[in-house]
């Protein structure tokens, strides 16, 4: 894979998005997929009379856990250890990758199967393992498509959302043989045929691999249990067949008690796939007989996010991707434009907090939104994404020209007399305003006419006519 999970050194969002907007195939694929999931989600959310209460419960359980994260993490560690598992603490990506690579090497194996996991993508685990001579095989269908296509994931839940079935057929035919069992010669682009080709290819892999790497959707502090929700059954295969299981999980994925899971098993499937319940829910606690279990608890910037009073709500995220599916910007720009494993509205607030805003892409992400608010409305744990976007915009470094422009505008708005003078000047010069504006303002006139500038402002009209009385 070509650096998936790292995405670093990407140009800023507007540049990436402008290229994506030109790709009509991509826009068609995205529109069709997001609108389909959007409709399904709305239907299953609408049938729950207590959705608002569930959403509030989800928010409050997460907020409570985050407030006492230190305490619950120690409780989790104790419970996992008591159940025969091993807990490792990783402060950043490098440390986490090191831990996993060493654990794999200790088994003497050179390949691992993987359950789809955002955390391992975030730290670039596959690439790090490759440098150590270990091959990581993705087993989620969409992740397999991305891996075979030497591509980047572009959606949290449906990483290959940007591909249609004709493209997938081509990828399977060209690349499957390099990675294991080849695709059948007469492969059609029927979904059933594509799924069957992937199933046969993966079956061989599951039965021959002794180490698995997973993430988790939730961790239960009181019992030390990890939980994975999935659709295909590949996750269950990875979690049960191998002799060694290594789970890499962000510290924010914690829930205090088993009972709390009830709320999230309702919120997550409905928000993500638009289903009442996902087909497979697997839970595991510590090590089972004949299996070794390691849990790598990943910080990688999360405690810094926790320190920000406004920004910390991003850690409530349960990675359902409802915000992506309703976002008009994501729909046009596609997931790759965000330059992060977390695309869409949640990526626009999570990534710059986890990575900082030093790079061009990270500084542009808080602006990758029209602040329309559809994401906040759809979020099952009520993350006020527009609020965090505005908050982050206040923290990034602004271009000098913009700073001067904003200061000038602020100076004019500081005194009504100044505003009135500028309005009168505009009214007098209105015939000289060109149809195409220069500089950064040309972005406006490339596709839009500027409005006619009136001869008289409301203010002057009010004063001349005494509020219309004369």
């Amino acid at each position: 894979m070509s650096g998936a999970g790292t995405f670093l050194g990407m140009p800023a969002f507007p540049h990436n998005a402008a290229a994506a907007v030109q790709d009509s195939q991509l826009r068609f694929n995205l529109r069709k997929a997001t609108h389909t999931i959007r409709g399904k989600r709305a239907a299953v959310v609408g049938e729950l009379p207590d959705w608002a209460e569930l959403r509030r419960a989800g928010k409050e359980i997460k907020d409570h856990t985050l407030r006492h994260l230190d305490r619950y993490l120690l409780q989790l560690e104790e419970a996992v250890t008591a159940a025969g598992g091993h807990v490792h603490w990783a402060s950043d990506a490098k440390e986490a990758n090191r831990i996993v690579a060493d654990l794999v090497k200790a088994t003497g194996e050179t390949s691992v199967v993987k359950v789809k996991s955002m955390a391992t993508q975030e730290i670039g685990l596959n690439e790090a393992l490759q440098e150590e001579g270990i091959t990581a095989y993705e087993t989620d269908l969409a992740e397999l498509i991305v891996q075979l296509g030497d591509d980047w994931p572009s959606h949290i839940l449906v990483p290959a959302i940007h591909r249609n079935r004709a493209e997938i057929r081509e990828i399977f035919q060209e690349k499957m043989a390099e990675w294991g069992r080849a695709a059948p010669e007469e492969l059609t682009d029927e979904p059933r045929a594509l799924a069957e080709a992937a199933r046969l290819h993966l079956r061989e892999r599951f039965l021959s691999t002794k180490v698995a790497v997973s993430g988790a959707n939730f961790m239960i502090a009181e019992t030390g249990t990890l939980v994975v929700l999935e659709s295909e059954g590949n996750g269950r295969m990875c979690l049960t067949l191998p002799e060694t299981l290594i789970s890499v999980v962000g510290v924010e994925k914690l829930l205090p008690t088993w009972r709390d899971l009830e709320v999230f098993l309702q919120l997550l499937p409905r928000s993500s796939t638009g289903e009442r319940m996902n087909p497979y829910t697997s839970t595991w606690t510590g090590a089972t007989e004949g299996q070794e279990f390691h849990l790598v608890l990943l910080d990688n910037g999360r405690t810094d996010v926790l320190a920000d009073e406004v920004g910390r709500q991003a850690l409530r995220c349960i990675r359902c991707s409802a915000c992506l599916n309703v976002c008009p910007v994501y729909e046009r720009a596609g997931g790759h434009a965000y330059g992060s494993v977390y695309p869409g509205p949640i990526g626009a607030i999570l990534t710059p907090q986890l990575r900082g805003t030093a790079s061009a892409i990270d500084a542009s992400l808080p602006y990758a939104s029209s602040l329309c608010g559809a994401c906040f409305e759809a979020c099952p744990v009520a993350i006020d994404i527009p609020e965090v976007l505005v908050h982050l915009r206040g923290k990034v470094r602004h271009a000098r020209a913009e700073r001067l422009g904003m200061r000038a505008a602020g100076w004019i708005f500081d005194r009504p007399s100044r505003l009135a003078r500028v309005q009168r000047l505009g009214g007098r010069l209105r015939r000289f305003v060109p149809g195409r504006l220069p500089g950064p303002l040309s972005a406006w006139t490339d596709t839009r006419e500027i409005p006619d500038i009136p001869a008289e402002s409301f203010r002057d009209w009010w004063n001349r006519t005494d509020g219309g009385a004369r």
């Binding site: 910007v329 329309c372 100076w411």
Partner: protein, 266 residues
């Protein structure tokens, strides 16, 4: 009722006709309207672009100007939402060291700022509940949906994002439009999708903004409406600019202008 008009800087400067329509309409409904001359801008552009200090100062100015009125009416869902949603947030997050901010460029040119900003949070709490979008004021405060308007045209309504999700205006604007004599209201496909304006978003992300607007314009054209109506002139400016560039012939009109039209005025 002593009603202060918050005309907003965009309407004041670029769309004075909307302000005039608000005056005509509210007078017709028996309101005693005033235009506080000291008003300028609510600070939305500054706050949303990442300049919270400037925004906080403009917010301070706003609450000074409007604190004494029974009701404040704004013909803009976006600016009303700014005041209602973001002002309490700005008051809550006012850092102690900037409790008395200096002038923007001049360093302390604004007199009595220290005194004013001490009471910022209190004035926000007092003023914010009195700020209404026009349709909210008509339906909730005055209790009218039939404002005696006449407008014999085919109209489609775009519920701008901040009207929809910031203020939760719901069906208030369309209830008002349905009572207008002669008006045929046609539904807009994909009405709840953002038009792509988003303030400085339209300039910072022009490609995505234009793509969003192209879809909106396509939907507007598909209705066969002569007029596109909304409660926000900035979104209308964006959509209208594209409608004109594409020579669709569809006109844009603010809700206030339609509600102010009468048979007698023709």
């Amino acid at each position: 009722m002593r009603v202060a008009l918050f005309i907003t800087c965009v309407n004041d400067t670029l769309f004075p006709g909307t302000g005039q329509a608000v005056v005509t309409l509210l007078r017709r409904l028996g309101c005693d309207v005033e235009f506080p001359q000291a008003q300028t801008c609510c600070g939305q552009m500054h706050v949303n672009t990442g300049y919270p200090e400037e925004g906080r100062r403009l917010a301070g100015h706003f609450v000074d100007v409007f604190a004494g009125y029974d009701a404040v009416v704004a013909p803009s869902g976006s600016c009303a939402a700014m005041v209602r949603e973001q002002y309490p947030r700005l008051a809550r997050t006012t850092p102690a060291r900037t409790a008395a901010p200096a002038g923007l460029l001049t360093g302390g040119s604004a007199p009595a700022t220290a005194e004013r900003d001490d009471s910022f949070a209190r004035r926000v709490a007092e003023t914010v509940p009195k700020v209404h979008d026009l349709s909210e004021f008509l339906v909730d405060v005055l209790g009218v949906t039939d404002v005696g308007a006449y407008f014999p045209h085919r109209v489609t309504y775009h519920p701008t994002c901040h009207s929809l999700r910031g203020l939760h205006l719901g069906d208030r604007p369309t209830r008002l439009l349905r009572e207008v004599r002669g008006l045929e209201l046609v539904p807009l496909p994909g009405a709840e999708e953002c038009c792509g304006f988003g303030g400085t978003f339209a300039v910072k992300n022009p490609a995505v903004s234009a793509a969003m607007c192209a879809d909106k314009v396509h939907n507007v054209a598909s209705t066969g409406a002569e007029v596109l109506c909304a409660a926000d002139n900035s979104c209308l400016m964006h959509i209208g600019g594209t409608l004109r560039r594409q020579r669709t012939g569809v006109r844009i009109m603010h809700l206030a202008e339609i509600l102010a039209s009468t048979e007698a005025a023709r």
